[in-house]
Amino acid sequence: MRKNKEILRGKIILDNFEKPHEDTGRGNKLMATIFSTGIVSLLLIITIAVTLPITGLSYSNLFVFSSIVSLVIFLFVLLFRYFSTLIMAYLYITKYTVENKSDFFPFVSIIVPVYNEGKVLSNSITSLLDLDYPNYEIIIVNDGSTDNTKEVGQSLVGIHKGRLEMVRVSMINKPNGGKSKALNAGIQYSKAEFVLCMDGDSQLSANTLRAGIKHFTDPTIGAVAGNVKVLNRKKMLTDLQALEYVEGLNMPRSAQSLIKLVNIIPGPVGIFRKKAIQDAGWYSSDTFAEDADLTLNIMAAGWKIYYEQNAISYTEAPETLNQLLKQRYRWTRGILQSILKHKRHLFNPTLNFGNSLVLWSMFYEALIWPVMNIFANLFFIVVALVYGMSNLLAFWWAGIALLDLMTALYCVAVEKEDIRLVPYAFIYRLIFILMIDITKAMATIEEFLGIEMNWGKLERIGNG
C-alpha cells in the first residue's frame, strides 16, 4: 500500500464511437405505414361486412365467437410460454449442476460507469474489493456527474487490499455522454482481454467473477450474462420487482442459456470478451437499451452468450410507481429500437438463425404478449360488465395465479431466494404485470409514432 496517496492525473484521448446521424426519412416512412395499415383495416372491415350475411351470424355472435377463439389462442400461447420456459430452465439448471468447469483466472477489468452516483459509489467499490478473484482491476468512469461523484471517486483511486490480492482502482473523468459512451471509455482504457461491465449503483456478490469467467474457456462464448437481484426490498413495489426479476427475467435467461442464446445481457452485470465487443462495434448510443443492442450485435457477430446464475449483482429498483413505469417505458422503447436496428436479421433467418430466433422472441415479449394480456383483461371486464359473467373472472384469476405460484416456487427454490416473495404471485399477474404491460403498449405506440423521449435518471437512495 506504499505510495497509495500519490495519484497521477493525466489526459486521455478516447474514441467516442459516435456514428454520423443519418436522416432516414422517418416521417415519410411513418406516414406510409399509417396509410397502408389504414387501407388494410378498411379492407378487413369491408370483407367482414360483405361476408357476414353469408355465414348467418349476427354482429353480437361474431363478437362472442371471435372472443372465444382469441381466448383459446391466448390460453394456448400462455401455457406454451410457461411450460417451454420452465422445461428449458430446468434442463439448464440440471446441466449446470452436473457440469464441472475448471477454474480460469485471466486478468479482468471491471468498468463502473457512474453518473450522479455519489451516494452509492463507495458501496459498489466496497463490494468489488471483496470479490473472490485474484486478478482484476477497477476502472470508474465518471460521466460528467453534477453531484459529488467526482470527489468520491477520486478518494477511491489507489491500490487497495482486495480479498485475495491488491486491486488497482483508477478513474476516468469524461464529459457527459451517456452510459454507453462511459462504458466504451473504460473498455478502451482497459488492457484486459475480459471486461466486466456493471452499473454504478450495483453491488456484486463475492463469487461473481469466479463463477462468470470460467465459461470463457469455451472459445465460442463472447459474453456471460449475470443474475440481477433487487437490493432494496421490504416494500410491496420492490418485492414485486424482486419476484419479477427471478420469475420473469432470470428464468427465461436460464432457458435461453440452454442454447447459449441469451437475448439481453443485463446492465448491472455482464462479462465480455473484449474481442466480442470489438466485433459487435462497441456500445452504441442510438438506442435506449444499449445492453440489448450490444447483445444482439454480439450474437449477430456469431458469438454465443451464456447465463451464470451465481454471478449476482444487487441493484436498486425503483421505489415509486412513476419511476418504475418510466424505467419500463425506456426499456421497451430501447428494446424495440434494438430490434428495429436488426430487422435485417428478423426477416432473414439465413443470416444467423439463432439471432433471428432471439429477435422474434424479443419481439413477442415486448410487443405481442403485452397486447394479448391487455386484450384478455379488457375482454373479461367487458364480459363481466356487459354480459354479467363476472364469475369467469375469478376462475381466470385462479388459473393464472396457480401458474404463477408454481413458477414462483420453482424460481425461489432454484435461486435460494426469499420465500417471502412467493405469496406476491397472487397479485403479480393481475396487477403488477398488467400495469407494466399497459406501459409497454403505450411505449410501443409512441415508438412507432416516432415521439421523442429522453433518458430518465433513477433517484438513488443509497441504502444497502
Binding site: K11, I13, T126
Partner: protein, 170 residues
C-alpha cells in the same frame, strides 16, 4: 355468502383500477417529461478525458505508446490513427496529484481470511499463461532488488554501497 362472486367483484375492481392507475401514471409521466425537454447536441468523434490512476500503475502499464507528449495528442494525425480504435486510449500524465485528505477515504481494506491465502497460492500457480498487467508490490527499481548486501543496518541495495568506487577485476 358465496366466495366466487365476492372474489370476482374484487378482481374486477382491481383490474379496472390497474388500468386507470397505469394510464394515469403514464399521462403524468408524459406531462413531467414535456417540462424537462432539452435539445441534444451532436457528440464529437473523439473526446478528451481526465485520468486518475495510482502512481504505480503508470510504471507498470504505461508502455511507450502511452507516453506520447500532450502536444501530440491534439494532432489530427494522431486522431485519425486506426490503431487508436479498439482499445487503449492515448494517455499522457501531467502531474502527480496528492490526495488532499487521505483520511476521508472510506476504509475498505479488509484483512484476507487465513484460509484464503491457500486459495490465492493455488490460483497464482494457475496463472502461468496470463501476465498480470499490474504487479502490486514492487515499487523500487527492480535492478536494485537483484543484488542486496547484508550490513549491520540490514539489507541495503548494492548501488548504495559503491559510492565513489569502481569495480576491480582480480
Amino acid at each position: 355468502m358465496e366466495l366466487i362472486p365476492i372474489l370476482s367483484f374484487i378482481i374486477l375492481v382491481a383490474t379496472i383500477s390497474t388500468f386507470i392507475l397505469a394510464i394515469g401514471a403514464y399521462i403524468l409521466y408524459k406531462m413531467r417529461e414535456r417540462k424537462g425537454r432539452t435539445s441534444v447536441m451532436p457528440a464529437p468523434r473523439y473526446i478528451e478525458a481526465e485520468l486518475f490512476t495510482p502512481n504505480q500503475a503508470v510504471i507498470q502499464q504505461g508502455g511507450p505508446a502511452m507516453q506520447g507528449s500532450p502536444a501530440m495528442q491534439g494532432s489530427p494525425a494522431m486522431q485519425g490513427n486506426p490503431a487508436m480504435q479498439g482499445g487503449g486510449g492515448q494517455v499522457s500524465f501531467q502531474e502527480t496529484y496528492s490526495r488532499p485528505n487521505p483520511e476521508a477515504r472510506p476504509s475498505m481494506a479488509q484483512a484476507a481470511p487465513a484460509g484464503r491465502a491457500v486459495v490465492a497460492q493455488q490460483v497464482r500457480s494457475r496463472q502461468q499463461n496470463y501476465q498480470m498487467p499490474v504487479e502490486n508490490e514492487p515499487e523500487e527499481d527492480p535492478t536494485n532488488k537483484k543484488f542486496m548486501k547484508y550490513t549491520t543496518e540490514g539489507y541495503v541495495p548494492v548501488s548504495k554501497t559503491k559510492t565513489g568506487e569502481n569495480l576491480k577485476w582480480r
